[in-house]
């Protein structure tokens, strides 16, 4: 939208037309958004450009060689360690987003359809966990999933197991569990919003035309809340691919994700260009897989008639 709005600046030939433009609705709109726009440009767009630029350069000990090279990308894409990390990161973030959306949808649905007058209270309760630090929330999962943690002692006292299970913590499952918990609120909210927008008469119309409750849900409610599902999916998937804290704290050896490798290149390994190439590759991969999932979702929903 902004790109279109900027168009007329280039073709304002005469001073009178220029003055007229300055007074126009469009000019006022641009003036209004320009501070935030410039801010976004400086703090979002430029850093990304710098990272992309770095990814084509080479690190020579302490100096950066600015001749163009694709060597970093060759390494990022062919080194088995990075390939494994990419696959694992994508797999974990995909699992996390699917599980989060699947768990969040019923919650959002319940609040939207059966929240009654207490909808806001429910939403408030859902955001309560977010008040504590992200780090603390991740740490608390260590307490829950640990060897002598809540889960193990609980299961032992119920007599379901007789010695602590070690497979709960320090692996990719722990990462998935922790991330799903951390991101649930962010998935519930967009789904809730799009469910709120579903006209309840449409569901009545579906029932009137012969659908059972469940059928009406799949044929009307779900397709119409798809925008919320898609945004929930993206909101969860995009940040979790590059998550650094959670794998670090609960992931152990098996839970290492690509962010750890990127951090290492920018830190100890001091190879910024390779780190940049890994980041850019991650970005591209996330965008591609997100797009693929969105398309697949839309297609599947379209098939339900």
């Amino acid at each position: 939208m902004t790109a279109a709005a900027f168009g007329p600046i280039a073709d304002t030939p005469s001073p009178s037309r220029r003055r007229a433009w300055m007074r126009s609705e469009e000019a006022r709109g641009l003036a209004m958004i320009s501070p935030t726009f410039l801010y976004a440009l400086a703090l979002l767009f430029l850093p990304v450009l710098i990272v992309i630029a770095y990814s084509f350069w080479t690190q020579n000990y302490l100096e950066i060689d600015r001749t163009f090279t694709l060597e970093n990308y060759r390494q990022a894409l062919t080194e088995p360690i990075y390939r494994d990390l990419f696959v694992r990161s994508l797999w974990i973030s995909l699992t996390v987003s699917v599980v989060t959306v699947v768990f969040s949808y019923p919650v959002a649905w319940f609040i939207s359809f059966h929240g009654g007058v207490h909808k806001n209270l429910w939403l408030f309760l859902i955001t309560v966990p977010c008040w504590t630090s992200y780090l603390l929330r991740v740490m608390s999962w260590k307490v829950i999933l640990g060897y002598g943690g809540v889960m193990n002692t609980g299961l032992i006292s119920m007599g379901l197991i007789d010695k602590p299970v070690t497979s709960l913590l320090y692996n990719s499952n722990a990462v998935v569990i922790t991330l799903v918990h951390s991101w649930a609120a962010f998935a519930i909210l967009p789904i809730y919003v799009s469910l709120q927008k579903v006209d309840r008469t449409l569901i009545e119309a579906a029932r009137d035309l012969g659908d059972s409750r469940i059928k009406a849900f799949f044929r009307v409610t779900l397709p119409l809340s798809l925008p919320g599902v898609i945004s929930a999916f993206l909101i969860v998937m995009i940040p979790t691919v590059g998550d650094y804290v959670t794998p670090r704290l609960v992931g152990g050896k098996d839970g290492v994700m690509i962010a750890t490798a990127i951090q290492a290149q920018f830190g100890k390994a001091a190879n910024w260009p390779l780190g940049a190439a890994l980041s850019v590759t991650t970005m591209v991969l996330v965008s591609l897989s997100a797009a693929a999932i969105v398309l697949a979702l839309k297609f599947t929903i379209r098939r339900i008639k």
Binding site: D199, L202, R207, D208, L209, G210, D211
Partner: protein, 369 residues
Amino acid sequence: MSDRAMIQIENVSKFYGIYKALDDVSLSIAEGEFFSLLGPSGCGKTTLLRSIAGFENPTAGEIYIDGVPSLALPPNKRPTNMVFQSYAIFPHLDVAENVAYGLKRLKLSPEEEKKRVGDALDMVRLSGLGQRKAHELSGGQRQRVALARALVMRPKVLLLDEPLSALDKKLREEMQVELRTLQKAVGITFILVTHDQYEALALSDRIAVMFGGRIAQIASPKEIYQRPRTRKVADFLGGMNFLKAKVLGEQGNAVSIDAARFGAVQLEKPQGFAASSGHVTVGIRPERLRLLWDDDRAPHELSGRIENRAYFGEVTHLTVGIDGLEQPLSMVETNNFGADDLPIGAEIRLAYDPEAFVLLAEDPPVTRI
């Protein structure tokens, strides 16, 4: 239209807490009838319609649809289909998919389904618009899609919840004619909810007028307009001059009354009429009073003066003060003879027909909170 009852509503009540949305409603609608539920907003007409469709659960009573007690059935198990006030066109489907929505359950062959959808679209004159999306349709077209979507199911009863209220006047009148024609063509029982008395009068075989969750009167349009039972019904159906009158005597089914300046008139006793005191309310429609020009003579005349005048294009509404009457009379004159040119204060004579008076029963007291 046959004599067989398609819908039988027996003592249906619906309470929201202590609020009575429906208060012991009983009525019967014949197969193939065009039946209207008319009343002001909040009178319970929509609640009653939604109870027939299965979207409301009455607190008491039973509704039989084609002889089957239906209150325990969910909406999808009832042989009724509804045209919603907002039309409720599925925005994610195109017109043909909307119309085919309910047919999917019937597992028809693709050709058969296509044919039925095409026929339904032809019926509402939307052929060729099957690929349009809901947001590309005008209000009138959406209304037609909603109709086609319901009719394609071949329901035993079609329920229409103020289907024309969102359309502008011209289109509404067009659709009224179409709706009536359509109903005659398909022969399905139609139940229309409306707050527009002209719509109800123009479309229905019978009308039920509702106030405060109760049915005030059920009758044919002509009867309900000309012989309203109570003052409220008379008032809701259009303009009416109300007069206090004294009862002179009763003879069988007739009552003779003294209607002030109009003299003694003999009136038919309405159902449930009981002259508890010696006073009653009678009414006469404004258009039943006629202006007399120059040498015109009529058997029953009154003279008065014009107190107010409002020009409505084809007619002029006059307010005429009569000596000896508490309230001025309102009357409607066509503008063919120059009623619109009469100055305020002009002395006029008017003619009336004593047979045009209706004796009105007391409205039941409003019991709900």
